[in-house]
């Protein structure tokens, strides 16, 4: 599902955010991406979601070489990736329903299918019944779950989460992680960037650790390098 081969990211100011990254995540796997802030977690996720392009080496996502995805095709490429952000990136002038429905509206689904899928998605994150409320009235944990519902509503094969529990207390963080586990169990590939080490230790998933832009540790060496 995700394969990095000698991928590097150097920014225009000369800073090397990522250097010679090699790893492979098969479809359906769940993994954590850790490291200090500035170690390159966000840069790595950005390369996968094509928010940025690698300076050298190659990044394959969902069977596609990201270098070959044209600017015009990027929106369609991103529709196969559900992205979850630390700050949720919800639209506060729209209801929970409208927020979650947005990817389906963009994809041009008929209205009744949208309603069905949005409810199913909200059900999965335990927010059924909150469709008509506005995100501002929800707690941080609930807002994050709306973000997750939006990310999974069009059933993408890949989920990326960037510090999804950054602002949540341990209890809520665990809930969020369990939601990710559920998706992983039904075959979705899940990559979670986090520095919440206590949480990671309690879960039996692959660990990728970045240090100063290099892949420092991979708990799953056997499958790394594919």
């Amino acid at each position: 599902m995700i394969r990095f081969t000698h991928a590097c990211k150097r920014y225009e100011n000369g800073f090397d955010a990522l250097q010679d990254i090699n790893f492979h995540m098969p479809a359906g796997q769940m993994a954590f991406l850790t490291g200090h802030s500035g170690a390159g977690k966000s840069s790595l996720l950005k390369l996968i979601a094509l928010l940025e392009r690698s300076s050298r080496g190659q990044v394959f996502v969902n069977g596609q070489n990201t270098a070959k995805v044209s600017r015009r095709r990027i929106p369609y490429f991103r529709r196969d990736i559900g992205i979850i952000f630390q700050d949720h990136q919800l639209l506060f002038d729209r209801t929970v329903f409208d927020n979650v429905a947005l990817p389906l509206v963009i994809a041009g689904l008929p209205h009744r299918d949208i309603a069905k899928r949005v409810r199913a998605s909200l059900d999965k994150v335990g927010l059924l019944g909150k469709e008509k409320t506005y995100p501002i009235t929800l707690s941080g944990g609930e807002q994050q779950r709306v973000g997750i519902a939006r990310a999974v509503v069009n059933k993408p094969p890949l989920l990326l989460a960037d510090e999804p529990t950054g602002n949540l207390d341990p209890e809520l963080s665990r809930d969020i992680m369990h939601i990710f586990e559920d998706f992983s169990n039904v075959g979705v590939t899940v990559l979670v960037a986090t520095h919440d080490l206590a949480l990671i230790d309690s879960m039996p998933y692959r660990l990728l650790q970045l240090k100063q832009g290099r892949l420092n540790y991979d708990s799953d060496e056997a499958t790394a390098d594919g």
Binding site: R72, Y76, R78, L109, K155
Partner: protein, 318 residues
């Protein structure tokens, strides 16, 4: 192999979705604007004034042309006949000229009548009495028909009349008609220049409004791009906003013109009545109104297109 869960739609279904989406955004953008009625109205009013100015001037010009069509009667050709031509021959010539299609009216002034007129108007009555014979020629005063009143046509009529053997001198008095046409032409050019400048102003007003709207909705645009919104999907509501601004602006312009016309039509009719003209002000006809509305819409769309092209690309998720 790529695995995708995106729904696959047939061509017909895709077209339906496409049309439906456009319709949704069409009214969505209208709803968005109606939530800020005051600022929407302000922008539309600015556009309206900018459109009303050249349209109104155009209308004044049109009316002036109709009015000057009435004044074209003042274009006159004077045929001074040779001294030897008798009154009978003159009458015959008068009849022949009257039959010309380019001629509206002919008036014969005999030598005697001319002398009498001169005596009355010149104040040289005494001097004239000392003359043994009448030095004045007979004159035919010719008024060209409406079509032949324009400078070029009148001139060719003049050339034709000069060829009659009875005619000594043919004179066309149209200096002031030429001046009037020159003035109208100048104003017409002026209106054209003004229209171009104001069209540019409308483009900029709409462009700036849309630019602000884009900046206000920056976060929304970022989110859309993050979850796979295509450029055209994100662009669409802004383009439709431009459409609405143009439409509202041109409707406002239309109303302003009609109300202004209604306000001045009374006095204008009194005025032209005093000049014994049967004249009523022309309003915007169907095709002119349509052109006004369409150009408003075109400029609105154009302005938003410019703004969207310039500013939407700059907004990328970080």
């Amino acid at each position: 192999m790529a695995r995708s869960n995106q729904p696959q739609l047939g061509i017909v279904a895709s077209l339906r979705v496409f049309a439906l989406r456009h319709l949704q955004v069409f009214f969505y953008s209208l709803g968005k604007m109606s939530r800020q009625p005051f600022s929407t109205l302000m922008t539309a009013a600015v556009i309206g004034i900018a459109l009303a100015l050249p349209s109104g001037l155009h209308l004044i010009l049109k009316n002036a042309e109709t009015l000057s069509g009435g004044w074209d009667g003042a274009t006159q050709i004077s045929l001074f006949l040779k001294q030897g031509v008798s009154e009978k021959e003159s009458r015959l010539l008068e009849k022949r000229i009257r039959r010309l299609p380019a001629v509206e009216k002919v008036k014969f002034i005999s030598r005697e009548a001319a002398l009498e007129e001169f005596r009355q108007l010149s104040g040289f009555a005494g001097a004239l009495d000392t003359l043994q014979e009448n030095p004045l020629p007979s004159v035919l005063l010719i008024q060209p028909s409406i079509n032949a009143s324009e400078p070029e046509a009148a001139k060719s009529l003049l050339t034709r009349l000069e060829y009659y053997p009875e005619v000594d001198v043919a004179q066309l008095d149209m200096q002031w008609v030429k001046r009037l046409y020159a003035i109208l032409e100048t104003i017409r050019r002026g209106v054209l220049v003004l229209a171009i400048l104001l069209a540019l102003a409308v483009l900029l007003v709409v462009g700036n409004t849309i630019k602000l709207a884009i900046q206000n909705r920056r976060e929304e645009i970022v989110v859309m791009k993050l979850i796979g919104g295509t450029d055209s999907f994100i662009r669409r509501p802004f383009l439709y906003s431009g459409f609405w601004y143009g439409l509202f602006g041109s409707i406002i312009a239309f109303l302003m013109i009609q109300i202004s016309l209604f306000t001045i039509s009374g006095p204008v009719e009194t005025l032209t009545g005093l000049y014994q003209h049967n004249f009523s002000l022309m309003g915007l006809n169907m095709s002119a109104s349509l052109i006004l509305i369409l150009s408003g819409i075109f400029l609105g769309l154009g302005g938003s297109w410019l703004a969207v092209g310039r500013h939407l690309r700059d907004i990328e998720p970080q």
